[in-house]
Symmetry: C2
Subunit: 317 residues, 2 copies
Amino acid sequence: MERNMFREEIKVLDCTIRDGGLINNHYFTDEFVRAVYTAISASGVDYIEMGYRSSRQFAPQSEFGDWKYCDDDAISKIIDGVESNTKISIMIDAHRVSDQEFRPVDQSPVDLIRVATYVKDIDKAIALAKMCDDLGYETAVNIMAISAENQPDLVEALDQLASSPAETVCVVDSYGNFFSEDVHKMVKLYMDHLPGKRIGMHCHNNQQLAFANTIEGIRKGANMVDGSLYGIGRGAGNCPLELLVGFLKNPKFDIEPILKVIQDYMIPMRDEIEWGYLIPYAITGMLNQHPRSAIAMRKTANKDKYAEFYNEIIDVE
Amino acid sequence: MERNMFREEIKVLDCTIRDGGLINNHYFTDEFVRAVYTAISASGVDYIEMGYRSSRQFAPQSEFGDWKYCDDDAISKIIDGVESNTKISIMIDAHRVSDQEFRPVDQSPVDLIRVATYVKDIDKAIALAKMCDDLGYETAVNIMAISAENQPDLVEALDQLASSPAETVCVVDSYGNFFSEDVHKMVKLYMDHLPGKRIGMHCHNNQQLAFANTIEGIRKGANMVDGSLYGIGRGAGNCPLELLVGFLKNPKFDIEPILKVIQDYMIPMRDEIEWGYLIPYAITGMLNQHPRSAIAMRKTANKDKYAEFYNEIIDVE
């Protein structure tokens, strides 16, 4: 079939290291992170998200790898000497901020700071976005778990964001619960309430809809879309970057370095840590629940007792 | 999110045994087939497709299991004694028909015969549908590989089918190449040229879009949709039946027997035979090619050399 999905404005963000880090407490080796950064740079993908800038007070250094903190110096060590036009992104949690430090943008390798928040913490998120904007960073806000929020509360949060400095606001399907009609509604809602801002899409793959929903977001006007290598990410994972780059027709993208890093690193890694479509994640997605119960059961001897798991969690409701 | 996808007319067909059989030359044990039939029956799914009714002249009995032939007696042995409202379907290939035999419907356990055809063999397909209709069976025609056909030829085939006795005509994405806009176009094309007929959807999962595309078909009016347990099927496989049944809101469906048969049979089987999302199938899907090159490379020592495979097949084009 002949199609044409070329829109100059569409930016792609790779969240392999950031969302993948949620599976293994951000213990990725420098070799792996550098290989991913090198491949993403060679593929022409616009942004790479390295992890979280977390407070060591809330996230003790004994329990996490480097990419829980994303210190400027750790990032600089990775990217040093690699030819790249890919911008660096980090994420901060609005509900877990304490002693994180941010240099002015010209003293940092970071370009974009994305603030993840729940609706209830939107004031904190806006304050953080303002602080980062004042330091010269590009800023974005990701409101999580919106499939389980009351829409009036969400709309109020969007209206507050409209006058914030955040350039981008991301539609996030935390529970992997959305179908295409939900994506259409949400992107329209965000565009209506956030005039002039860029809309992003971050989808989870519980029901094998992350790629499909990302495309639907693009069709409705989303211009910043997240993907990850081989779909890595907590639970069912994210939109597979390889499919996204195969779909977008901008000639600046090259899929080959992506295929290469998947074969060299992601396939062996999938034998060590688990992500992707698995029935327990499909069940939490269908039921519009956080995947934590599914993640927990996958660590037990009953990890393939799907019918029992289903009956347990529908009983709780 | 609140949604409502209830339409009485929507019928679901499980093609686990039929499409799954393409992976293992239809060598499924009677125990497995009976377990699947029992689960599908308990789940309220409308049809189960057992395999092909192939000619032993073209398909020597030494090379294939029972479900390559779907003899009436073999089917009767499986379904005997199982409580069920699920109808039995078999498939025949229009381009590989010779000495197959069909009893009148009242002497057979089969309810539905689906004729698979390429556009070029549409006359044979229509003749077969007529023969089966005369014997009293429900009939359907599946035109394969339409993403690689010239649309005028396809339209001519549809116009011929319009006056055939086949009640159902299925939109089949053989190469797993369709995006939502293609599904919308095709379902509309089929509906426009096949007034009064039921439209079906059979999607392949090369780009993780089989479930998404099946939903898009339903939204546009398709009323007979195929799924398979845990997405089993040749190459990237099909729309996962568990997701489809989770999506449809008809209370007659029960997902629990489906989850149970997946945990008991499909998970162990996936360790023995391969199907589902794998990068080589994604590549053939993106490039609108038959998966045969990807299936072949997955049987070699280079099965995870994705970049090399990609370069080889784009060079051939």
